[in-house]
């Protein structure tokens, strides 16, 4: 009888769900984004659009100790960012970066920031682009000239209505822990709070 009890004892041990007691810890090793860290020029790699046979390249310049941000997207009529066609520029000031980190719905560690729009401009780089914009009264404007920046702030151009001057630009920003690149929010996918819900996959390198 003792032998059966012995066997029963071990069987109960096996079925009792023993195993290793678990302890966990979580370390936040993400970089803390500050204005000082952002100050400077961050450049994206050339991004091609094979369907349209065009390309674009965006440069972010954080200046005035990170209070100002100028985002300049140069569009090209080829696939390798050689021949400029037009330049789109968004100028912001009074940039306010939230103190604490948060996360997107995809668990990406980010910080939120807001800034005031000081201007949004479009500059045709060739006469053919200027003529095209003129002929279509793009943004309701006809004064398009090659090499001249024209403000489109507050205007509806095609399917996009741009922020007006002094509007608040709400965005999110992510940085890798090695602090070599940043990503900005996808402003076309904003939540009701005004902040983008997701990040663009495009990286900007310092």
């Amino acid at each position: 009888m003792i032998k059966y009890i012995f066997l029963l004892f071990f069987s109960i041990f096996l079925l009792s769900g023993c195993g290793d007691k678990l302890s966990t810890s979580t370390t936040d090793n993400s970089a803390n984004i500050t204005k000082a860290l952002l100050t400077g020029t961050w450049t994206a790699k050339c991004s091609d659009n094979t369907t349209a046979s065009t390309s674009s390249k965006t440069v972010l310049v954080f200046s005035a100790s990170g209070d100002n941000l100028t985002a300049t997207t140069t569009n090209y009529s080829d696939l390798s960012c050689v021949t400029q066609s037009f330049v789109f520029t968004k100028k912001l000031n009074t940039l306010e970066l939230e103190d604490s980190k948060t996360k997107t719905s995809q668990n990406q560690i980010i910080k939120k920031f807001t800034a005031k729009v000081t201007d949004i401009t479009l500059e045709p780089k060739t006469t053919s682009v200027a003529t095209l914009l003129f002929s279509s009264s793009f943004c309701g404007l006809t004064g398009w000239n090659s090499g001249t920046e024209t403000s489109v702030a507050g205007l509806t151009c095609g399917s996009i209505t741009y922020n007006a001057v002094n509007d608040t630009h709400s965005d999110i920003i992510q940085i890798n822990s090695e602090k070599t690149f940043i990503r900005l929010g996808n402003i076309t996918n904003a939540a009701s709070t005004g902040y983008p819900k997701t990040l663009y996959t495009l990286e900007y390198y310092k």
């Binding site: 096996l14 966990t24 090793n29 890798n176 690149f181």
Partner: protein, 185 residues
């Protein structure tokens, strides 16, 4: 009836085994027809690679285990050559690590490190079959009294609760199935 006497009166045996915790060698001494004292050494490793949305996850775990145990055979139970119960100590050198990398930039998104405590009690039950000098056994063991520490490091992503739970379940090895074949001498 004494099975040892029935076979060849051998007092020792050694053999190879495959188990959840790795493959290795096992040897032992038959103190009596019912009592067996044994030891084993096993090693194993697992590595996984998986792809997510723009990310790659790699993990690797290594297991080295030395086990010393006593086994009691229920020879007169009449189930072939004997059911047995066993208990002992396992000395473990188990480590695990993993990382999630961003495919586009190769930036580290997050990583994990797992450590297991070095000593645990191991108990189990099994079944043995003997053919002359050859023996075959299957056993199911369980560890008791050990601990496991998982360190999550977040670089660009937060670990979700579901991801943590999934990982914790996949790196839990509370039981060990052992399939052994040995030779008595």
């Amino acid at each position: 009836m004494s099975l040892l006497a029935e076979s060849d009166n051998s007092s020792s045996e050694a053999g190879l085994f495959y188990s959840t915790w790795g493959s290795g060698v096992m040897g032992g001494y038959n103190y009596s027809n019912e009592i067996h004292i044994g030891g084993s050494f096993s090693s194993g490793d697992t590595s996984t690679k998986s792809k997510g949305l723009g990310t790659s996850m790699k993990s690797q775990s290594t297991f080295m285990t030395v086990n010393a145990f006593g086994r009691y055979y229920l020879r007169d139970l009449g189930i072939t050559d004997g059911l047995f119960g066993q208990a002992g100590l396992a000395f473990r050198n188990w480590t695990g690590k993993g990382s999630i990398i961003d495919d586009r930039t190769q930036a580290k998104i997050a990583s994990i490190k797992i450590d297991w405590s070095p000593v645990v009690i191991v108990t189990g039950v099994g079944w043995q079959k003997i053919w002359g000098s050859l023996s075959f056994s299957v056993a199911m063991n369980a560890s008791i009294g050990g601990s496991r520490t998982i360190e999550y490091t977040e670089n660009m992503h937060r670990f979700s609760d579901s991801m943590k739970k999934d990982l914790e379940e996949k790196t839990d090895y509370p039981t060990n199935l052992v399939i052994y074949i040995g030779y008595s001498f």
